[in-house]
């Protein structure tokens, strides 16, 4: 008696199909927020979405590209300042200046990559930080941009308040949705396969013909573009920028904690990490330094005991895959 088996290779599972519909639904809900939410909620949501996109960018770079940057605040700051230069000084509509913020950050990343890429691993990390410091000091010395004390985005004040708030919110939501979508589609492409291979083993990826150096450069510039968008959107929302705030290491601290706690190198991780990050912040709002103390302790505990983060642990434990990134072999007996 011969058993007849049929094979199929598939990426999607019932769970992943459900997750996609949930994603579509969330995107729709997110876009409808201005219709029903008060403006205080929208301001808060803009901040959450900015941190989430920044965390996604950092995750793409560190989790997939193996590039541990602690200097992403450079690109947040450049994106923010680009918004002020284009909107406040050159008279471009602030909403249209947002993509320019991303673009300028990407250009800055591409221009400085030859320097920071001379170092690897942990030394690369600290070098990106030095570079961010150089940018901070440089911007502090431009008196046209307010020098060390920064400046306000007064052009936004001319705009009708509901229009301004709705506009900023919708731009933030669109940036988040596009970033999520782009990362998902990208990881399924040739580029993403190469990147995942680099994540798992750089040497093996190289031997299979992946141009590791070019790939890393691309992912670095891409992450800078996303971080620049974040800077532009965030500072359009808070309406005031200064070098110490825009080039603050805490941007990276937040991104690292969100990604590491949620699960580095997973797409679902940053969502979980952001929920914990903002949940704890809400719960510990009155305790200042204690919030960062506890957040840091949680992050260190996760790194020591659950190196793949919360989502990584859940995924291994129950063999779950929410997003259709992995191919599975399905064998059916007849």
């Amino acid at each position: 008696m011969t058993s007849r088996l049929s094979y199929a290779v598939t990426r999607s599972t019932p769970l992943s199909r459900a997750a996609i519909w949930l994603g579509v639904l969330s995107a729709a809900v997110a876009l409808s927020v201005p219709l029903w939410a008060p403006s205080s909620f929208m301001r808060w949501a803009v901040e959450v979405m900015c941190y989430l996109v920044l965390a996604q960018m950092w995750n793409l770079m560190a989790g997939y590209g193996g590039l541990l940057s602690v200097g992403q605040q450079a690109f947040v700051g450049i994106g923010g300042y680009a918004l002020f230069v284009f909107a406040q000084h050159l008279g471009i509509h602030p909403f249209l200046a947002v993509p320019l913020g991303g673009l300028l950050a990407a250009v800055a990343a591409a221009a400085t990559a030859p320097i920071v890429f001379r170092l690897r691993g942990g030394y690369f990390a600290v070098c990106t930080w030095v570079l961010a410091e150089v940018f901070r000091i440089a911007f502090s010395n431009v008196s046209a941009l307010g020098g060390g004390s920064g400046q306000s985005l007064t052009v936004m004040a001319r705009m009708d308040r509901p229009l301004r708030e709705t506009g900023v919110y919708l731009i933030a939501a669109v940036v988040l949705i596009l970033a999520s979508l782009a990362i998902n589609l990208m990881l399924r492409s040739r580029f993403g396969l190469g990147l995942t291979a680099v994540r798992d083993s750089e040497a093996a990826a190289e031997s299979q013909g992946v141009d590791v150096r070019a790939l890393k450069l691309q992912v670095y510039v891409l992450a800078a573009f996303g971080s620049g968008l974040v800077g532009a959107v965030y500072y359009m929302s808070v309406l005031r920028i200064s070098p110490p705030a825009a080039f603050d290491i805490n941007w990276v601290v937040a991104a690292v904690f969100i990604v590491v706690i949620g699960g580095i190198g997973t797409l679902e991780g940053p969502l979980i990490g952001a929920a914990i990050f903002f949940g704890l912040r809400w719960a510990l709002a009155d305790y200042g330094a204690w919030y960062w103390l506890i957040m840091g302790s949680v992050a260190v505990a996760v790194i020591v005991f659950f190196p793949k983060g919360i989502w990584g642990w859940v995924r291994n434990r129950w063999d779950l895959q929410l997003l259709p990134l992995q191919r599975r072999l399905i064998v059916r007996g007849r």
């Binding site: 930080w129 150089v134 010395n141 690292v256």
Partner: protein, 287 residues
């Protein structure tokens, strides 16, 4: 002309202090490839430990270095043995991320305990005494820091080159698996390396606390100076690190002379220039 000589001398002495910051970082990287992001925050911790030790015992800050160094050795040993050691292995990213979290914990714990007020360690008139060499005057305390820094660089080099602990440290650095086959307990050797790194951090922290005021959030700046000194000097060379620190100090001194606010920037730019022109550092020992 005299002014230039003066700037150079002051820069070299500042470099002596940076060398104290940097040797510990160099050891941690040399032995276990650890880039300790919390290095600067532990330096600040040492300053505060000295502050509390002096307040409780009335010791002179120079003598307080001894108990603080012992405490810092213990902290470093325990941290490597029971926290960082568990994260080592697959790749170098996990230990670095752990130290990143530890830096935030430490900074905020210090803020909670000591508040954000600026503190300093007082050593009386030695802090302002100076010697005159011709028309260049040299502070007694900065000169002492420079001499201690040269002495410690020499002592640590001897430790690595001549003692059995040094041989164990180098062997673990070159090949941990083979070293453990030879009977070296790599876990403890790594822990001792971070302990040594932290004991040196204690010396740097106390001297830094005497030289300027400190607050809980100045750690990152010290980390960057230490890191720049190590990279300028070239990885794996202690005297290279010392030379890198001196070069950084001189660069900052010259920068500050040009514009009061440009000292740090000048240091960063010299670092980036070295990286572009000689990525392996100026005095790298090829290994």
């Amino acid at each position: 002309m005299l002014e230039i000589a003066d700037v150079l001398v002051q820069g070299i002495m500042l470099g002596g202090l940076y060398a104290l910051f940097a040797i510990g970082l160099s050891i941690a990287y040399g032995v276990m490839r650890l880039v300790n992001i919390a290095h600067g925050d532990f330096l600040v911790l040492a300053s505060y430990l000295a502050l509390t030790t002096i307040a409780l015992s009335g010791l002179h800050p120079f003598l307080a270095i001894v108990p603080v160094a012992i405490a810092m050795f213990a902290i470093g040993y325990a941290l490597q043995r029971w926290v960082l050691g568990r994260t080592m292995g697959s790749d170098g990213l996990a230990p670095l991320l752990a130290t990143f979290g530890i830096a935030i914990i430490l900074r905020n714990a210090l803020l909670q305990i000591y508040s954000a007020d600026a503190r300093s360690l007082q050593i009386g008139s030695i802090a302002t005494d100076s010697l005159s060499f011709g028309s260049i005057s040299v502070g007694v305390f900065p000169l002492l820091v420079l001499l201690v820094s040269i002495g410690l660089t020499f002592a640590v080099s001897l430790l690595f080159d001549r003692t059995s602990i040094g041989i164990a440290l180098r062997a673990t650095s070159d090949d941990p698996e083979t070293a453990s086959l030879m009977g070296i307990r790599t876990g403890r050797t790594h822990a001792a390396a971070l302990g040594l790194s932290f004991a040196l951090v204690a010396v740097g922290g106390v001297f830094a606390g005497i030289r300027t005021t400190f607050t809980p959030d100045i750690g990152p700046a010290s980390l960057l100076y230490a890191f720049e000194a190590v990279v300028i000097g070239g990885l794996g060379s202690l005297w290279g690190t010392f030379a890198g620190a001196v070069l950084l100090g001189v660069a900052q001194g010259i920068g500050a002379e040009i514009d009061a606010g440009a000292g740090v920037l000048a240091g960063h730019l010299v670092f980036l220039a070295v990286l572009v022109l000689r990525p392996t550092g100026l005095f790298a020992r090829t290994r």
